[in-house]
């Protein structure tokens, strides 16, 4: 088991709106094993992204444990100091967000080859049908679908044992959707564990080993 969530809860307190408390989820408990793809489903606002963000450490976790086990060491993200979370992000947990946060002036190829592996970055961009003439340009001006594919290439290039995918196929055409399905399947065969938010039923059917309906964690 690489990831275990136990009784995780999250509530936002909005101080600027008179201290309103917005309970998002509670009692979130599930495990993920290597090579397994767990898909989170539920209507928008149910807390799917919040769960992913808590696993990555972007959102704080109010209650419970989020234990990542790798290489003989276990870390509870909910309690770990920032330095440990950063170390996990460098080598264990990858996160493919829905939108590319483009850095000005950095060309697409460099965005993808962050870790310096240009040949693999090129292969991945080619596979995701990003035309070669765009590789040397910063992605800020690319179309939504192109940006998303650059983001997918960046997220899939490093070999991380745990990948978090937030709607990786949202703005893709059927052909590119199939490429992403293939990439996810390959990662699974390599033993990568994944937690994904996928709205497209066809993609979900193709990649999910297990589906978890997030509404069952609805906070009262």
């Amino acid at each position: 088991m690489i990831l275990e969530l136990a009784r995780v809860a999250k509530t936002f307190t909005m101080h600027l709106q008179g201290g309103i408390r917005l309970p998002i989820v509670q009692n979130v408990s599930f495990c993920v094993t290597p090579g397994e793809c767990v898909v989170l489903t539920g209507p928008s606002g149910a807390g799917k992204s919040s769960i992913l963000k808590m696993i990555f450490g972007t959102y704080r976790c109010d209650e419970g444990r989020i234990v990542v086990s790798h290489g003989g060491a276990s870390t509870d993200i909910a309690a770990a100091p920032p330095r440990d979370v950063l170390r996990l992000r460098r080598s264990v947990i990858g996160y493919v967000s829905q939108f590319l946060r483009a850095v000005p002036r950095v060309p697409a190829l460099a965005v993808v080859a962050e870790s310096g592996d240009s040949p693999r970055a090129e292969a991945l961009l080619r596979r995701l049908n990003i035309p070669e003439r765009l590789w040397s340009l910063p992605p800020a001006t690319f179309s939504g679908g192109e940006q998303q594919r650059v983001n997918i290439a960046r997220g899939f290039l490093p070999e991380r044992p745990l990948l978090l995918l937030d709607e990786p196929t949202a703005s893709l055409d059927p052909h590119n959707r199939q490429v992403v399905i293939d990439l996810i399947s390959e990662k699974k065969r390599q033993g990568t564990a994944m937690v994904a938010i996928v709205h497209d039923q066809q993609v979900c059917d193709a990649v999910a080993d297990r589906v978890i309906d997030v509404t069952r964690f609805a906070a009262a």
Binding site: H15, T58, R60
Partner: protein
């Protein structure tokens, strides 16, 4: 335990009063090699005071700042002699001022500004110093043909890049930056930020960046300290503090940023 597991800099209960006026109170944190820490808050929040305390330019009223020297010994900055402190400043530390005129010698050529720090650490060969200066000018995207010009005839963005080259040429382990992009046009800021981000990552620098600009903090830093009224009110990973701010004041800061 290797050296990498030891903090480079430790602040313990650092406080400063100006008479009865509070500068900052009870600030504690640890900074490790390769880590970039942003100190954010409005003007008057105590962040610049804190930066001066951390860089031994101001004596603390209470608390201490410890620094792991190149020889591996961790020393209290207050216990260093003036000569030792100056040596730190010239070799192991960089300090990037908001106003490049404070960090540069405006009447000296660009090459002289950059080369000076090398001479301070014992470089003597003129040709080699000039060669290193040229390569650093190129690295901060200044045309090396302008090496003999003084920064007086440089634009604001070029001056700031020259100041950065001057600081980084001695390969410091820790760089302090006070509003490094303040006072620059937005397009110039973007270029500088991208340059800084690349340099910090390539050189594995530790840095403490004071900024009121949350976009700068997001792009450059791993961790954030939020200051208000002289105190640290919230700390955490940069994305955590910006995407899930906990304190009312941090929520106000984050929500006050206009989306671009």
């Amino acid at each position: 335990m290797t050296a990498q597991d030891q903090p480079l800099l430790i602040a313990q209960g650092v406080s400063k009063w100006y008479g009865r006026q509070l500068g900052c109170r009870d600030v504690s944190f640890e900074l490790y090699e390769g880590e970039v820490l942003a100190i954010v808050g409005e003007s008057g929040s105590g962040k610049s005071t804190l930066l001066q305390l951390l860089s031994a330019q101001l004596a603390a009223s209470a608390g201490s700042v410890l620094y792991r020297m190149r020889d591996g010994a961790t020393r209290d900055l207050a216990s260093l002699g003036e000569a030792e402190r100056r040596f730190l400043f010239r070799t192991d530390w960089g300090y990037v001022h908001q106003d490049p005129a404070l960090g540069l010698r405006m009447g000296v050529s660009a090459g002289g500004n950059v080369g000076e720090r090398l001479m301070a650490v014992g470089w003597q060969h003129y040709g080699r110093i000039r060669g290193a200066a040229e390569s650093w000018l190129a690295r901060v995207e200044i045309d090396p043909r302008r090496i003999d010009d003084t920064p007086r005839v440089y634009s604001g963005g070029m001056r700031q890049r020259l100041q950065i080259a001057r600081n980084l040429i001695t390969e410091p382990r820790l760089v302090f930056m006070d509003e490094p992009t303040g006072g620059l046009d937005v397009s110039v800021q973007a270029k500088l930020l991208d340059l800084l981000r690349g340099l910090v990552a390539d050189l594995g620098l530790a840095a403490i960046v004071v900024t009121h600009d949350l976009a700068v903090a997001r792009l450059l830093s791993h961790r954030i300290l939020v200051m208000k009224g002289g105190e640290v009110i919230e700390t955490g990973l940069t994305d955590q503090v910006l995407d899930d701010p906990r304190e009312a004041y941090t929520q106000l800061l984050v929500s006050s940023v206009l989306p671009a």
